[in-house]
C-alpha cells in the first residue's frame, strides 16, 4: 500500500483500504461478457456463478476466520433440498425459495456452530467432515424425502419476478445467478470491511490473542458460521432452481473437497479468490471433461502440491505479489 497517495489521517487510511478498485469494476463488467461472447455456454456460466457464491461462503469462514471445514457442502445440500422440496410440493417461486433455503441452512449452521466454535485443528477438521458425511448418509437413507440415489423429481421453478422464464439456454439462469452472486458479494464486502470483519481477521491471525483483548471469539465464530451456512444454502437453492434437479452429490464429501481446492487455488481471504478459483476450476473441468478421471485427479494433485509449496496465497496472491514487485516496492 503506497503511503504517498493516501492522506495521512488514520480514518482516511482505513477508508482507503476498502475503496473500490478499478480492477474490481472491470471484473464485474466482465461477468456480463458471456451474453455476447459465449452465449452457448450460459448454463456453464450460471454453474460457475453458483459455485462462486458457494466458494465465497466458504471464504468467509476459512479465509477470514481460519476455520478449516471439510463439510461445507452440507449447507449447500440443505439449501438445494429445501428449495427443491418447496417447489416439488407446489411453491416454485424462486426468490422466496432462496429465502427459505437460507433460513433452513442458517438454523442448522447456528446449531452446529456451538460445536464448531469450541474446537480447533484435527478435531475441527474431523467434526466438519463427520457432519458432512453424516448428513450425506441421512439423505441417502431418507429416500422418501430426498429421492435417494435418483434425486429429487418434480421440481418446477416459476418465472422469476413473474416475468423471466427459465429457458433451456440459460439466459434467465445466468442473469439470476449472477445477480444473486453480486448482491451477496456486496453484503460480504461490507461485512469484511466492518469492525466484525476486522475481528474475524484477528481470529484468523492469532486466535490466542483474542481473549486477551477482551474478545469473545467463540460468539464471533458462531455468527460468521451461521451467515456462511445461509449463503451456502442460497447457492444450493440457486442450483436446484436453475437446473430443476437435486441429487445426493450436492451434499457429498467430493463437493466439499473440491470447493476447498477451488478456494485455495484462487486464494483464500481475498474475497475474490473463491470467484476466480471457481471460474478457473470449472472452465478447466469443462474443457478437459473428455479425459479419464484419473488424469484429472493427477493434475489436481499436482496443482495442489504446486500451490501449497509455491503459491500459498493462490492465484490472486501470486498476482498481488507480482503487481507489488512491478510497482517497485
Amino acid at each position: 500500500m503506497a503511503l504517498t497517495e493516501t492522506a495521512r489521517t488514520p480514518q482516511l487510511y482505513l477508508q482507503h483500504l476498502s475503496r473500490w478498485r478499478p480492477i474490481e469494476i472491470a471484473f464485474w463488467l466482465a461477468t456480463l461478457l458471456p451474453y455476447w461472447l459465449t452465449p452457448d455456454y450460459l448454463s456453464l456460466a450460471s454453474q460457475i456463478a453458483i459455485t462462486a457464491l458457494f466458494a465465497l461462503s466458504l471464504d468467509l469462514i476459512l479465509g477470514y476466520a481460519g476455520i478449516v471445514s471439510l463439510g461445507h457442502a452440507a449447507f449447500f445440500g440443505i439449501g438445494a433440498y429445501t428449495a427443491g422440496l418447496l417447489s416439488k410440493y407446489g411453491w416454485g417461486e424462486p426468490l422466496t425459495g432462496l429465502a427459505a433455503a437460507a433460513f433452513t441452512a442458517a438454523i442448522v449452521g447456528y446449531a452446529t456452530s456451538f460445536i464448531i466454535a469450541r474446537f480447533r485443528h484435527l478435531a475441527l477438521i474431523m467434526l466438519t467432515m463427520g457432519f458432512g458425511l453424516l448428513l450425506g448418509e441421512l439423505a441417502n437413507s431418507a429416500g422418501w424425502l430426498t429421492g435417494g440415489v435418483d434425486g429429487l423429481q418434480g421440481i418446477h421453478t416459476w418465472n422469476l419476478l413473474g416475468y423471466f422464464h427459465f429457458d433451456l439456454y440459460g439466459y434467465t439462469a445466468y442473469g439470476y445467478s449472477l445477480a444473486v452472486l453480486f448482491v451477496v458479494f456486496l453484503g460480504a464486502r461490507r461485512l469484511i470491511h466492518s469492525p466484525f470483519g476486522l475481528a474475524l481477521r484477528g481470529i484468523r491471525e492469532n486466535r490466542t490473542r483474542m481473549p486477551a483483548i477482551g474478545a469473545a471469539s467463540r460468539t464471533h465464530i458462531q455468527m460468521i458460521y451461521t451467515i456462511s451456512a445461509a449463503l451456502a444454502g442460497i447457492a444450493g437453492a440457486l442450483l436446484s432452481e436453475t437446473t430443476q434437479t437435486v441429487s445426493l452429490d450436492s451434499l457429498s464429501f467430493e463437493r466439499s473437497a473440491e470447493l476447498l481446492v477451488m478456494l485455495v487455488l484462487g486464494g483464500a481471504g481475498r474475497l475474490y479468490g473463491g470467484l476466480v478459483g471457481a471460474a478457473i476450476f470449472m472452465v478447466a473441468r469443462d474443457q478437459f471433461s473428455g479425459i479419464e478421471p484419473q488424469y484429472w485427479y493427477f493434475w489436481i494433485g499436482v496443482l495442489l502440491v504446486v500451490v501449497v509449496i509455491f503459491m500459498p496465497n493462490g492465484v490472486l496472491g501470486g498476482l498481488a505479489k507480482i503487481y507489488a514487485r512491478w510497482r517497485g516496492r
Binding site: 487510511y13 466492518s194 491471525e205
Partner: protein, 254 residues
Amino acid sequence: MEGPLTPALSTRGLAKSFGSLIVARDIELSLPQGARYALIGPNGAGKTTLINLMTGMLAPNAGQIFLGEDDITGLEPQERVRRGLTRTFQINTLFPGLNALEAVTLAVAERRGIARQFWQNVSTYKETIEEAHDILVKLRLGDSCYQATRELPYGRQRLLEIALALATKPKVLLLDEPAAGVPPEESGDIFEAVASLSGDLTLLFIEHDMHVVFRFASHIIVLVGGGIYAEGSPAEIAANPGVREVYLGTRKHD
C-alpha cells in the same frame, strides 16, 4: 464500591498441579492499587504460569482470585479483560497480517462493544480509530502504524504488545518480560513506555534484568518452584541471603 485500601488484585491459596508436578503452591498475593510490583524467580519457577492462572488461561486446582472486591476465579479470560485485568505475552502474540493501527483499533472496538457491527465500514467509527491512534502515538508507534505487524522490527512489536494491552483500558496490567529479546539500545523505549503509564494503573511485571527491577519496582515477589519464596522491598530482597543463593547470585545481567 472499593475503598482505597482494597487491593487491586489478590489471590488466596492459589494452587495448580499437573499430576505430580506442582506449578503453583498456595499462592497468596495482594497488589495495592497503583502499585509497581516485580515478580522474579529462576526459569521454571512458575511466573508465567501464575499469570496464566490469574488471567484465566489456566484453571486452578484450588484457590481464588479477586479483582478489587470481585471474585473472578470462575470467569473466562475475555470477561476478566473486560473487568480490567490485562496481560502482555512474553513471546509476541500479535496479529502478523494486520497493521498496528488495525490491531489496536480492533482491541478498542472490542472494548467498546462494537466489534460485532457488520454493516458500517470500520472507518466510520472515528472515536475508536482516534483512540487507537492516540495510544500508538503515545508509544512512539505512530509513524509505523500502517505497516503490517510482521514487518515491524522486534522492539516495535514488543511496544505493540503493550499498546494492545493499553487499548483494553486495564486497571491491573500484568507484563510478562516486556523487554524480552529486545536489544539493549531499544529496551529503553519499552521502559520509558512502562514508566509513563498512569499512576492509577496497577502493574505487576515479570523481569530478569535486576537493574530494571530495582529501578521500577516498589515491591518484589520472589517465586521459586511454584511457591512464593520471599517478598519485600528491593532493599530487603537484595539483602536476603536465600534469594541471593537461589537467584541473584547466579545471574546479574540477561
